[in-house]
């Protein structure tokens, strides 16, 4: 049973968290049961999890897209923020447009913003062979500082000392789809993006080229496929998905641009993509579960526990997944032989 390793990894991660909490003198059992019931068994928790799942899911789709070409885009956080910045620019300066025009424009701006930033790293990789891990990651810090400059400076809300812009006009806010919650249209957008990615990769010529290049660049080149162009395209899409995620987040959930994002966004997103083994439907599930973990983290903070506990649990889960990888492969091999 290759699938068995997922619950096993989660179990080990929770056990590690248990240990840490016990060491700090907390009653881990009640923390877990409370967190679980609050996140997954209450409307509020569930709806908040769905809200969190949008940025995570979009980022994970971006990571998975790049990974199809064996590229490691660990700059999704920067691209996310850059997309949010581009969308915010439109929201602040074109606030007279009606929502039907402004929201799509913002989405395109977010997508292109994040996409071009990642494509720049793709260009360096394709043209000069510069490792994309390093460039995408370093740009996270640059974009973070850039957004910081804006929200502490020219874009800061008038008369405010909080580092954030004014609240977006109603036309720049994605509508809520379940009244009484914060769940917004971005959730639908996420599902549509996932479906589009799936269709693109499996049914389009360009998607085919990306799969071929990802599997064997040499064979792809011999078959007349332009590898460098595929790298550019895939990075554009990868960053674009993250950037669109940034737009959905500022327009749907936060309604303003703020300094700093979710801590360790990149890593969490990476984990979602890795847990799902780049399977797009799996990413949605993993994104939802990890979003639940994030929301559980907020509850734990209310209970006086450090939010970093969630990060540790995620790290341990990721390591357990690596540890179980040989088991999973063996199981798959045996299953393959039996068939």
């Amino acid at each position: 049973m290759p699938g068995l390793i997922y619950p096993l990894a989660i179990f080990i991660a929770l056990a590690a968290g248990w240990l840490l909490m016990a060491m700090a003198g907390h009653d881990a059992f009640s923390v877990y049961t409370q967190a679980f019931s609050k996140v997954f068994l209450s409307w509020h928790g569930l709806s908040e999890t769905l809200v969190q799942a949008v940025p995570l899911g979009m980022g994970a789709l971006g990571v998975a897209m790049a990974a199809r070409l064996k590229l490691w885009n660990i700059g999704v956080e920067g691209q996310f923020m850059f997309g949010a910045f581009c969308a915010t620019g439109l929201a602040l300066y074109l606030d007279t447009l009606p929502a039907v025009a402004l929201l799509p424009l913002m989405l395109v701006a977010g997508f292109m913003g994040g996409g071009l930033l990642a494509a720049l790293c793709g260009l360096l990789r394709a043209r000069l062979g510069i490792n994309e891990i390093v460039t995408t990651l370093l740009l996270n810090y640059v974009v973070g500082l850039w957004v910081g400059y804006l929200v502490y400076g020219p874009w800061q809300a008038l008369g405010s000392n909080v580092p954030e812009t004014t609240e977006f006009a109603a036309a720049a806010q994605l509508p809520v789809i379940f009244p009484g919650t914060r769940v917004h249209l971005g959730l639908v957008a996420l599902l549509i993006f996932a479906a589009l990615c799936h269709f693109f990769l499996n049914n389009s010529v360009w998607g085919y080229r990306i799969r071929a290049c990802g599997d064997n660049p040499r064979a792809a080149r011999t078959a007349g496929i332009d590898y460098k162009r595929s790298v550019l395209l895939v990075m554009l899409l990868s960053g674009g998905l993250a950037g669109a995620g940034g737009m959905l987040e500022v327009s749907g959930a936060v309604h303003r641009l703020q300094d700093g994002t979710t801590p360790f966004f990149t890593m969490t997103v990476f984990m979602a993509a890795w847990l799902a083994r780049l399977d797009l439907a799996g990413i949605l599930v993993a994104g939802f579960l990890l979003a639940g973990l994030q929301v559980a983290g907020y509850y734990m903070q209310f209970m006086g526990l450090p939010s970093a506990l969630v990060t540790v649990i995620e790290g341990v889960a990721l390591l357990s997944m690596i540890a179980f990888e040989p088991l999973r492969l063996n199981a798959l091999k045996r299953a393959g032989k039996g068939a």
Binding site: T135, T311, I322
Partner: protein, 311 residues
């Protein structure tokens, strides 16, 4: 501008010191990568180095003990990475990312108790007799803390280790062609374990520099990307310890320049100056990459797990 010229020796001196954490981590990563293992978890190891150095130093009042603790913790994280990537043959990049996650989370949790507490037992700068009096150079290179001296000494030592000792030869062989090393009876896995643990310990030492020299207390996320910059330095240095020294100093100088400009009140928003240390590595990689294209310089087996019966 004139004021800036006057500041130049000052900036360079500060740069040599500021480059130390990156230098130590980069030297460790050079050993690790030369053995064929990629460890991109430096950021997580360094932050654990920071917090353990602070905790132990506060407890034992000895920066040396703090340094030792940081190196031990770094070594343990290296061991973890080695176990996951060499023995279990897991994906090296994912394992590295897991280290970053783990390091960030654990350091925040462990550091709760010492957050913001000032550390008094530090490594202080000591001018080296005679050398410090040399004109110009003396001020830049010979009025530093012991860790910075250690880093500068370590670069040639790592070079000597790799080029002139048998373990070093084995490390290089394991990274270039593990099957060759194995066919000669060299314990590839053991060599790689050693290299990854050593690399982790050095990254831990790099982390220890931050609270024990630069900012004498524990601040969450205080490495602020040093681990990633160290990775960039390794690529820039083409896995050569000597050039890593250069890269780390360059980074340090850019960082110091940003601070000085802020201090003298240059009308540029601080965020832009703070971007410099992150943009500089990319710029340098672009410049050096365009000059030496198509050369195979990375260890050939870098990133590939070795399995004897894989054929």
């Amino acid at each position: 501008m004139d004021a800036l010229w006057g500041l130049l020796p000052n900036i360079l001196a500060a740069g040599v010191a500021a480059g130390t954490p990156v230098l130590l981590a980069a030297l460790g990563e050079i050993i690790t990568e030369r053995s064929g293992v990629l460890n991109i978890g430096l950021e997580g190891i360094m932050i654990m180095g920071c917090v353990s150095a602070v905790m132990v130093t506060l407890d034992l009042h000895s920066p040396l003990a703090g340094l030792a603790a940081a190196m031990a913790v770094g070594g343990i994280m290296g061991l973890l990475h080695a176990a996951f990537t060499i023995t279990l043959k897991g994906n090296q990049i994912v394992s590295g990312l897991a280290l970053v996650l783990l390091g960030s989370g654990l350091s925040t949790m462990l550091g709760k108790g010492v957050l913001g507490q000032p550390v008094f037992d530090l490594f202080y700068p000591e001018a080296l007799p005679w050398l410090a009096d040399l004109p110009y150079v003396g001020g830049i290179f010979f009025k530093h803390d012991p860790l910075t001296y250690g880093g500068i000494l370590l670069a040639p030592l790592v070079w000597f280790f790799l080029q002139h000792t048998r373990p070093g030869l084995l490390v290089r062989a394991a990274g270039e062609s593990p099957e060759t090393a194995d066919s000669l009876g060299a314990p590839v896995a053991l060599v790689r374990y050693g290299a990854v643990i050593a690399g982790g310990a050095l990254a831990g030492a790099g982390g220890a520099f931050l609270p024990l020299v630069q900012t004498p207390s524990w601040v969450e996320g205080m490495t602020s990307g040093s681990g990633w910059i160290a990775l960039a330095v390794v690529i820039f240095a083409r896995w050569d310890p000597g050039k890593a020294l250069l890269g780390a100093w360059l980074y340090g100088a850019v960082q110091a320049l940003g601070f000085r400009l802020q201090a003298v009140g240059v009308p540029i928003p601080s965020q832009f100056l703070n971007m410099l240390p992150y943009l500089a590595p990319i710029a340098v990689l672009v410049i050096t990459a365009s000059r030496s294209r198509g050369q195979a310089i990375a260890p050939r087996a870098l990133g590939l797990p070795y399995e004897r019966e894989s054929r």
